[in-house]
């Protein structure tokens, strides 16, 4: 190919790439970014909780009851015996039923097939969810911040709701930040 023709082709290709390049952001269209937990939302105040206390809430809240009632937005805030804060997704990683927090047993128990999750780290210790391999045997956790006033804010989700955690082995305490 003569060099001049080669140059023309190169220019054409570069122009084509330039024109098409903005469309790489089309991929964003398919995700609901807000669902991945970029929103900072107040859940409760430290005064509302005593050891063993818990609050069910939805995150991220939109004000649309249909969306806020979606199982994939249901979370529970727990204060453990020794005063630690924990937030877990309420969707069982086995078959998506909604486990309840049982205060007397200090466990989350799934009503469908009896999977039992520990309150301290959300890992299943009994039932079908416990047979799944890590990281799919543990409830996704909420990232929270506690500010000077004692307000508790949810700022994100660690894990895949209805599926399990991420591969990194993060300690539950690392998700609670004091600001």
């Amino acid at each position: 190919m003569p060099p001049r023709r080669l140059l023309l082709r190169g220019v054409l290709t570069a122009a084509l790439v330039a024109v098409v390049s903005p469309f790489v952001h089309v991929i964003d269209f398919f995700y609901r970014r807000e669902a991945e937990g970029v929103k900072r939302q107040k859940i409760a105040n430290m005064r509302d909780l005593t050891p063993g206390g818990f609050i069910y809430f939805s995150y991220p809240q939109t004000g649309d009851p249909k969306i806020d009632n979606d199982p994939f937005r249901q979370f529970v805030l727990i204060m453990t015996e020794d005063g630690q804060l924990r937030v877990y997704s309420r969707v069982c990683v086995h078959l998506w039923c909604l486990p309840s927090y049982i205060q007397t047993r200090r466990q989350l128990i799934c009503p469908c097939h009896g999977s039992i999750y520990r309150e301290e780290d959300g890992v299943a210790i009994e039932g079908p969810a416990a047979y799944q391999s890590y990281p799919t045997n543990a409830l996704p956790m909420g990232k929270i911040e506690v500010d000077g006033n004692g307000d508790i804010w949810m700022v994100g989700v660690d894990g895949r709701i209805g599926y399990g955690r991420e591969w990194h082995n993060i300690k539950p305490d690392e998700l609670v930040r004091r600001v």
Partner: protein, 449 residues
């Protein structure tokens, strides 16, 4: 009207028809060569056309269901219930759609195996074959997204397994899964709806354009019988509504029959991604690459013992796992134990059955001597009088079946009604066949004179 007038009308219609056909020459429709057989030909040869016709039935019935269906996480089940219980004819419309979907999967599988055993993927048909295999996978995905739209317990189980599998895919899984899931179930149902009613059918139609051979056989008696089969199966096994999804209640469910094979692997404690995605993918890839591996010039299954044995073994594997996927041991106490399949037994048995069916077929075929082909059977020829008697009898039977259809529908027995209608369609197909047989016999006799 005088005979002259009738003649004029006939001429007008004829010239109009000719005018239209002339202008169709400019369109793509002339690319296809439609053949309407004058006598019986084995439907195995055109199972693909039958699949496409059932696809068209699905398109029409599905489009009508869209009038009432609501793709909403809370309303979906209620709207299907409304279609089933309140909308006039809705119950039957839904049954047509549901049973046509089952039949389409079944016909596609039969089509695949017939073409496989008769070596049709050779003789420059590689592109047809590969698009066909992809269409088969899309057919199952289309059926899967369809039965999930009901949002009953079975749908939730299937969605759950599907999402779990997508998430567990290495590297891309966590990126792809949220595309289907969106922000939760409220997004998921609309996305599945879009996939089911538009995206997947559109891809299937585009692929079908490539997949269709230029010669198409349109055999009306068999088409009528296929419609009859849809109604008969609808009458015998009416589509169920199931139990509305409830996230506080554990119900033992099994998926639809075309997915129970995968379900059996999942239940046997196989690692999720391997069982649900990798093994089925290997199975599909096996079929995809067959034309590039089997390079012999021979077409008949008798002359290709290895590939025939492979096909028979794959049928054995699919059959045993499909049946096993349905099996629930209700003597056990918890749902989990009821569904658990002992892996050593499972893998031992399916391995044994698959290997032994391969072995038996291979050695039977490679040792047999090619005998003479059996002499062709003499075709039955009906006399004009016999045809007339038979056709009249069939007409009476069709009328009886249609009367039964109306009567049972009027006394609120829609299942019986569908069954009678199916019988009517099959009898009509038979009537049509005898009609064309008689015409062709008469024409042959005229030609002989």
């Amino acid at each position: 009207m005088s005979s002259n007038n009738i003649k004029n009308v006939k001429e007008l219609v004829n010239s109009l028809w000719k005018w239209t056909v002339d202008r169709l020459e400019r369109t793509t429709i002339v690319v296809f060569k439609f053949t309407v057989p004058k006598q019986y030909v084995s439907p195995f040869g055109y199972l693909g056309t039958l699949t496409a016709i059932v696809f068209a039935i699905l398109g029409v019935s599905g489009a009508f269901l869209m009038f009432y269906y609501r793709p909403d996480v809370e309303l979906a089940f209620l709207s299907v219930q409304e279609i089933q219980e309140k909308v006039p004819f809705g119950y039957i419309m839904r049954n047509i759609h549901y049973h046509a979907s089952n039949l389409m999967v079944l016909l596609a599988v039969l089509h695949l195996y017939y073409q496989y055993f008769s070596g049709r993927y050779k003789i420059k048909n590689e592109v047809l074959w590969v698009t066909g295999v992809i269409l088969g996978v899309l057919t199952v995905l289309e059926a899967y997204t369809g039965y999930n739209l009901i949002m009953n317990q079975r749908a939730l189980l299937a969605v759950n397994i599907g999402m779990g599998l997508t998430y567990s895919a290495p590297l891309l899984g966590p990126t792809i899964a949220p595309i289907f899931l969106g922000g939760g179930l409220f997004d998921l149902i609309i996305r599945f709806y879009a996939l089911h009613v538009f995206i997947l059918p559109l891809i299937m139609l585009l692929l079908a354009v490539v997949h269709f051979p230029r010669a198409l056989v349109i055999d009306f008696p068999i088409i009528s019988a296929v419609v009859g089969v849809i109604f008969i199966s609808a009458g015998l096994f009416p589509a169920e509504l199931g139990i509305r999804f409830d996230l506080t209640r554990g119900v033992v469910e099994v998926p639809e029959w075309y997915l129970t094979a995968i379900y059996a692997f999942l239940r046997a404690g196989t690692e999720r991604f391997t069982a649900g995605a990798l093994l089925p993918l290997l199975f599909v890839i096996l079929f995809l690459i067959v034309p590039f591996v089997d390079r012999s010039k021979k077409l008949s299954w008798r002359d290709r013992p290895f590939f025939t044995a492979l096909g028979v073994a794959s049928i054995a594997l699919v059959a045993i796992t499909t049946v096993w996927g349905f099996y629930v041991d209700f003597s056990k106490e918890t749902a989990f134990d009821q569904l658990y399949i002992e892996p050593t037994l499972f893998y031992g048995l399916i391995g044994g059955v698959t290997l032994s069916s391969f072995y038996v077929t291979y050695f039977y075929l490679s040792r047999q001597k090619r005998g003479q082909r059996p002499p062709p059977t003499r075709p039955i020829v009906l006399s004009s009088r016999a045809s007339a008697v038979l056709m009249t009898t069939l007409l009476i039977l069709v009328a009886g079946a249609v009367a039964g259809t109306f009567y049972t529908y009027s006394i609120n027995l829609p299942n019986h009604s569908m069954f009678y209608l199916g019988v009517a369609f099959i009898l009509f197909g038979l009537l049509l066949h005898i009609y064309r047989h008689t015409i062709s016999v008469e024409e042959r006799q005229k030609g002989a004179k």
